[in-house]
Symmetry: C2
Subunit: 441 residues, 2 copies
């Protein structure tokens, strides 16, 4: 993509309304634009990151055998009255009367809606376990929306739901999602730590949050450093392995956010040098709530003995739009964002330093045109001065930069810069192909 054809409204100054670094950087780098309090438009750069995260989350759901569907944003209130939860969300739920004065709402979550789909379409134990997910915008009318997309009102979530014939099978499914979540966050380039959690208005008796380590997170977390090593092996796990014992292993390590932290126990079971304390950001949450919704909403199937059984359920959320902010919180420096490879909007930025010099521009254009996958390259061909170009490219955080100036003509060399390490090296134009291959561009 040529920058001259791209909509990238970078701001020179840090916006005063933003309190935290990810919000500031997303506004400055032209990733988002505020529509109203806690509601944002995603501009091209931001949307590209959002889609990359969404696609990784989707791929890992598919690999775990979860079927994708898409439920609407607007739900009938009747379903929530049936489950008994209509009042539980209070003013956070956006309530709407349609033109026929029917009570509707903008879904903050979808337990009721999926249970309704299930009970109308599934009648036999033979269809179980059934695992379904969707990736859809949700709305929670937060009293004080803040932190940009980290605590917005309209937000993108992946939420999955499971239906099993009994509690034992349902807990196996819970563990399947537990592993799936660890795999997902690892692929996003994040170290996510599972922690036992409260269930809140979703309900149930078993729940884990997945929290990523970050210098600027919203909560304090305490954990055994060994859990990180355990997490490093996650991509090798197959869904045919004994998932329950793997999950038990994870659960055996101490990990807790401040609300649940027990200092005495922490000291008791974790060696002093393995005791870690950090800030953290919640990026996923899984719940096992058994028959809470299937009971009240009568989601039954016929079992192998011909008798009606109430299905056992769980739900599993990942905050996709929130992850964009969370990743920036955990990966940036004073010059801007540093994208992990897997979610970077482009793999490579090319800067033409001398757009008014025909010889330099000819080489820069040639380099850009030779790259096969141009959707992964941002080519700065704009008539700005070098300082503007350098700081803009650093700000938007692409992992690799190629800087093309006068030396390309006089000596046949260009500069390569690694955004994260900030190391630079000069490379002969002849060797550029090899380098790009290494970078998977």
């Amino acid at each position: 993509m040529k920058l001259s054809n791209y909509f990238l409204p970078v701001l020179k100054e840090s916006p005063s309304e933003a309190e935290i670094v990810s919000h500031k950087l997303m506004l400055r780098s032209g990733m988002i634009s505020q529509s109203s309090s806690g509601i944002y438009s995603w501009l091209p750069l931001g949307l590209k990151v959002l889609k990359k995260i969404e696609n990784i989350v989707r791929d890992e759901q598919n690999k775990a055998g979860v079927n994708e569907i898409l439920m609407p944003t607007i739900q009938p209130a009747d379903l929530w009255k049936e489950s008994g939860r209509y009042e539980d969300y209070g003013k956070e739920m956006l309530r709407i009367n349609d033109r026929q004065e029917r009570e509707m709402l903008y879904g903050p979550t979808n337990e009721e809606q999926i249970t309704d789909i299930f009970r109308r379409n599934v009648k036999s134990y033979k269809e179980l376990p059934m695992l379904l997910y969707h990736i859809q915008w949700k709305f929670r009318d937060e009293l004080r929306p803040r932190f940009g997309v980290m605590r917005g009102r309209e937000f993108l979530m992946k939420d999955a739901y499971s239906f099993d014939i009994n509690a034992a099978s349902s807990e196996d499914t819970y563990n399947r999602f537990f592993i799936c979540y660890l795999k997902t966050f690892a692929r996003l380039g994040l170290k996510a730590i599972p922690m036992a959690a409260d269930t809140g208005p979703i309900g149930g008796d078993l729940s884990h949050e997945f929290i990523i380590i970050s210098n600027t997170g919203e909560s304090d977390i305490y954990f055994d450093n060994n859990i990180l090593n355990e997490g490093n092996k996650i991509s090798d796990i197959s869904y045919d392995d004994d998932l329950n014992s793997i999950v038990e292993k994870f659960k055996s390590y101490y990990s807790a956010s401040d609300e649940k932290h027990d200092k005495a126990r922490f000291d008791e079971i974790v060696q002093k040098e393995k005791q870690m304390n950090s800030k953290g950001i919640e990026v996923g949450h899984i719940f096992h709530f058994g028959t809470k919704y299937s009971n009240s909403m009568k989601a039954n199937v016929l079992d192998s003995d011909g008798k009606e059984k109430t299905v056992h359920m769980g739900s599993y959320g990942i905050g996709i739009s929130r992850l964009v902010g969370a990743i920036i919180e955990s990966s940036h420096d004073e010059s801007g964002i540093i994208w992990p490879d897997a979610v970077s909007p482009f793999r490579l930025g090319i800067i033409n330093l001398k757009t008014k010099d025909d010889e330099v521009s000819s080489i820069a254009n040639k380099v850009y045109n030779q790259i096969n996958d141009k959707s992964e390259v941002l080519f700065d061909d704009k008539n700005d001065n070098a300082g503007v170009k350098f700081s803009r490219m650093d700000l938007i955080g692409l992992p690799n930069q190629i800087i093309i100036g006068s030396k390309a003509v006089s000596e046949g060399i260009v500069e390569y810069k690694n955004r994260k390490s900030r190391e630079t090296e000069f490379i002969n134009l002849d060797k550029l192909g090899e380098l790009l291959k290494e970078m998977n561009v």
Copy 2:
């Protein structure tokens, strides 16, 4: 995908609430499930088609040089008061008060929101022309939602918006979208005819609908058959060609829906044997409205002479969820849907006729496992009888079927069926690889 792992709740009987064939077939084939009046959940098969259409529409927008963004579903009413349109949509607009009693609405279209993004981020003529699109759910609170996804309340639309420095440039952009739309519908396997149209609440003085031919459409259309031949050459057109003269050529052919039909003129300029009359379904609509929104909302840029200029705008919509229904209306038979290749949820269906026969099952599994791209194959491995399997596979409309039964063991042959022509042929298992290659599976 193995059918035993797939959520495909096929109905035996035609649902009584559905009036038109696409609605009936979408419910029967388990593509959608109604949530409330005019609001649907998309089940796996339906979502797959929706995504295929979305991706083709997206790809053609990108090829035309339009930048993708994503605006939120919930908009502040203030923007609509500023443009003067807040009352124009009447009860069709879903109006919402948030917890702070601010007036909000679920966007039925996005002219105001995009104009706001533009004026806050673009200051110079150098950034023009600027072309932006998004693919997002919209809501129109129809008095009588009907025809399934063809006239639903919550629906998925691609809407693009253009900003130009003057009227002449803006009309060039309009023509660019005109061509882009013809390319898009052709890739979807549809014959779409552009017709001059009224502008309604969007406004402006220049507008075209794109209407596809269908036996069961909502409006009567009249056109010169030569326009179809013109359309056949559309994929050869490059955006570097003289688009204006190509569009003029299209406009020179007679085409009109019943509201605009002029029989005298039709007889005058179209030879009798070229006069076509059919039913049609609107699938796209483009508008040129100049400064209607930029004037009231003060979307100005500095021109090359340093003076403020009001930008000229257009907007361009494609009904993505509506297209799912429209394609079925124009492509089905008494047994069910017949998907055009480009949007079929799977390219191939494999039926194992003898799931309880180990030898047959072993061959069927081998055939399925040998196919590289399994996301394009649906393998019916369920324990149903042959009649159920045949009618289900016909109903869901995959273009190609391979039927594997006893003859696979005794004679090494399987049956190939073309869904559209209903022709079948026996094929030696050795030749199956070649056949699948031909089908791009």
